[in-house]
Symmetry: D2
């Protein structure tokens, strides 16, 4: 029997409702390139859920694509981005942002989250204009790449700071569902929309085959984005497959139910480790956990489960990363918990 | 009742076999980013079908994406592309190639097809080096944007010419299935592979939800392409959906059956026009036809059918474009033919 | 004795006044990067001469650099340029504009000059948005690459058309001096400034060692240009050498005297050809002429003079190009005229 | 009387020999775009001095231009650069490298110098290919941006490491003259050439009006560089002004005499501070020094001299930066020393 994987949240296909909707609509003729009725309806639904009927909503295939599209369309050639050193755009996107001509100024952080003080330090160090770039966009992820989340107050402070300093605030929401359904969360989707210039709702890591929904809240940035999508090769001829998926995910809050399921499973595993006296690399309340284990404990868990060894702590200990998803099987989690108890 | 559309070949979803395969595999855990087993198997199948087990095969989402990835990864900054004036990269991709830094030299052609003489004329006009670019890649489409196809001899001549002049030959195969199953075709898929440096097999316009399969035949170009895919935002986390689709399309030659169906329907419609004494803008044998009609004939057909008016001929006549697809309904074609007869 | 060259207008160094000024100021300490007093004074002088004290003026090294800086700073990624097929940016700048990501739509013209009808034809052919680019900037050269000039009326019409269509009008003035001192000219420098969004005054081809003065007239485009100059490697540490040169050229209208000298010599040569019954490829009134000669006539002139054979007319005739400059020696022109008479 | 400036090494024009040579050659007709006889001779002279007759030598206008040309021409789109956090390309070039599409991985260093261990740490942190870039070029400056220099052994180690790891080694030599004539130097120009793939000899900061001489030592990189120069707007029509200047600088080792003069003046000032018990931010032996002074000492020196306050140390102390140059006046240095003694 194959090992069960906790390596990521995109190991399976998609939620069955999506497959059903693809089947039901399959032979209905539609306009191409995002001009289909499903996409139009999904956009309206999202505008309603984020409480901003004036937002421009676009569907694209994945997170790196969303990030490079947003950033390259918003900035002028000499404008730059500020991000945490753990930010996905800085570490794991093969220089996608720089490939569009824009530098990312990275800031070390304790928990993957930016504060106004972090941003101010970058501005302070780049006063020699025009020999230094003009900082213009702040990139944050929620939940972050290491599983932490922003509180409403933290996001409000960032938003205020950015407005005061003519900076755009852009939230990478590849795992926004997980952030907003975390037990530690105090923020609504409407809050996110009100406090950012642009953000996106990730589908790929929350039950879709592919797809992220970009919402442009700032009216000044709401024009001509479709040209960028086409130019960067991101406009699907059958845009319907993005619209259909987001229609299903947004209907009856399936999107949040799926994320909550992932979080719940992660928290169950976390509790099991904790009960066994095991500590964590960071305190997370979403679908990623980072327990610190001995080498022999790791070997034991590896017999039946797949996961990444995240960071070596010392000669005898490493932190591992376990990720749960919309489709994580409760029975297999039970098995894992059983094994954790006997470590 | 809604009009039936002959506007394009991507108006519906996908072939039912694909939906079935997506369902069957849905909960099987797989590695992400194209490292799944379905993609691996589909690549092997394609290598076999193109008779080149050493080809590098990559799956991406769409044609513009395939074109910009191939061209930007193959060329150095000062190298340029030669294409027909009707070439998709020159006309309808929002400057996607130029956005990666590369100029396209366009050549007017009678039928959308390039010849060595066309290419030579570009080289002759760019002798003032280094004040003029270094031409390095020849872009052709088969079938072309106006429905014509290359013969084996024509492709052989282009291939020889390109080799002699250190030019890469790249075939946009968004509609390669339609070209190779045309009644006028004398070329095999193996020929295409043997005579080009790079080409792709289009899925989006031939029954897939999305996806093009790029085959790199020239060993000198077979390295590091995966970095480019990731950097340009084209690497799907759930690469399985591309692999699964091409597995289905390539199995038992479904790919060619679907294209043949589209061609057959177009040829039936073409015959009906011809029998009625109607002439065509160009002589095509694939899934696109361009009959020249009077304005009143156009109005009549528009009552029940959707299509593009392609080109105004004079005050009383225009050419229209009718495109058939893998899913074009024979009954609706019968209705159209019936109406054509009574024009 | 070496042949005398009529190949271009940059074969010698610079006007002696410039060398004298460089010597006189050599040890005066100045701020770097264009913040020197000479540049400031030269900018004020230019603002006065173009009758626009609010224009932003920047000095850069050469024409290709000026063109790519202006275009890449003004356009958004999906915006494109319209130019004549003979436009320098389209033919002889190694794809410099495309290298910044922007397509140039070229238009065939009889005389190297664009009209509103030319531009309208490009707009008409690019209505399929967003699959086609957004045309945003019109590039013209005055004098053109083939020696012709715009009349005031022609420029006014272009300017009106561009304003009506939300297009920027940019004039490449590498040889603006020659245009404005042509016997056929009816336009002033103030007119040029009033009718364009951006233009530049070429120094390199009119007596400077290097240097073009860019004037940004449109207030909406007058910001942050200095970042682009630095980012593209075009900001000289010793910006003084550009300021000092333009101070000398603009003082007492030396700039126009030099251009007039070049034009006068060209017109003398032109008259000599004409008297001898020789015809021309195009009718020019600036410092470039294109007489059509027999092969044996060309061979005779080649004994003592260097020039380019521009275009083969038939087996026995070609057009040659003769260019005069600020430093063309009257005595050598006399010799050339003498030889023309005896052809 | 105006304050005397120690702010930079490009506050004056150029060495008188250069002005004389410009005057003497002024009316000699030459080919444009670097095809002149002076440039050809200067290239031969440099090939001889660096002991590599096979090196390709190119002249460009400035340091940022040289850096972006070299890096963008050498790297493929997904390849990246490693540099010290103080590297000029990382801090003060307005994102010029990123604007060509390439990320710079920065490394904190004590003294502005990279070691193999620094580079290894970057490689170690970027093992997740192809989600992370392919590191391909190491950028170093000699002398560095903070005045330090590489020893022969250090450069040898870097060179060996880079060869072992398929990395190119590129030296920014904007102040290479100062490095090689430092009292602490043990390396020859021939060594630099033998141990780097590409480097350049800076003219702008060592007595030229403008100009850097790029030497490409690695034969694999010696092709088509001229296309890049033209495409990036860096090819001067009157390339002669670069050739003439380097001919003068390289003749009789004027280049090194000028750098030595700058170093000597800086060392005189350094000795004066040291005698007065003043310490330094870093230990330098070239033309930049960073003494740490009290605020009142700084105010006193500011009465007659211009310089930058480099870094605040505490409430009452800051480090200042003093830069000397080829033209630094000994008498004014004497005055400064006099004032230092009385601080």
């Amino acid at each position: 029997m194959k090992k069960y994987s906790f390596k990521n949240d995109y190991a399976e296909g998609c939620h069955p409702n999506i497959l059903a909707a693809l089947s039901q609509t399959n032979l209905v003729q539609q306009n191409g390139y995002g001009e289909d009725e499903y996409s139009a309806e999904a956009k309206r639904l999202i505008q309603k859920k984020i409480n901003n009927v004036d937002a421009s909503v676009y569907f694209v295939s994945g997170g790196t694509q969303a990030n490079l599209l947003v950033i390259s369309s918003v900035l002028r050639p000499y404008e730059s981005v500020i991000a945490a050193e753990t930010g996905h755009i800085f570490t794991n996107e093969t220089g996608a942002i720089e490939a569009t001509g824009h530098k990312i100024h990275s800031v070390p952080t304790a928990d993957g989250k930016l504060t106004p003080a972090h941003i101010q330090s970058v501005l302070d160090n780049h006063a020699n204009k025009p020999h230094q770039l003009k900082q213009k966009l702040v990139y944050i992820s929620n939940s972050t790449e290491i599983g932490t989340i922003y509180s409403r107050k933290e996001l409000q402070e960032l938003s205020d700071y950015c407005k005061d300093h003519q900076l755009y605030l852009f939230m990478d929401g590849a795992r926004l569902g997980h952030a907003l359904t975390s037990e530690a969360n105090d923020m609504s989707l409407e809050d996110v929309s009100a406090l950012t210039d642009i953000f996106y709702l990730g589908g790929t890591k929350n039950g879709a085959l592919l797809g992220e929904a970009i919402a442009i809240n700032n009216p000044k940035l709401q024009y001509d984005f479709d040209y960028n999508i086409k130019q960067k090769g991101a406009l699907l001829a059958k845009g319907r497959i993005l619209g259909i998926q987001f229609l299903e995910l947004m209907k009856d809050d399936l999107y949040f139910d799926l994320a909550r399921h992932a979080n719940t499973q992660a928290m169950r595993i976390k509790a099991a480790f904790r009960e066994n006296g095991i500590t964590f690399l960071s305190e997370t309340y979403t679908n990623q956990i980072f327990p610190i284990l001995t080498n022999s404990q790791i070997e034991k868990l590896q017999r039946d489960f797949d996961f990444y060894i995240w960071q070596k702590i010392d000669e005898t200990h490493s932190a591992i990363r376990l990720i749960t998803s919309w489709s994580t099987n409760s029975d297999r989690v039970n098995e894992l918990i059983h094994q954790i108890k006997s470590l």
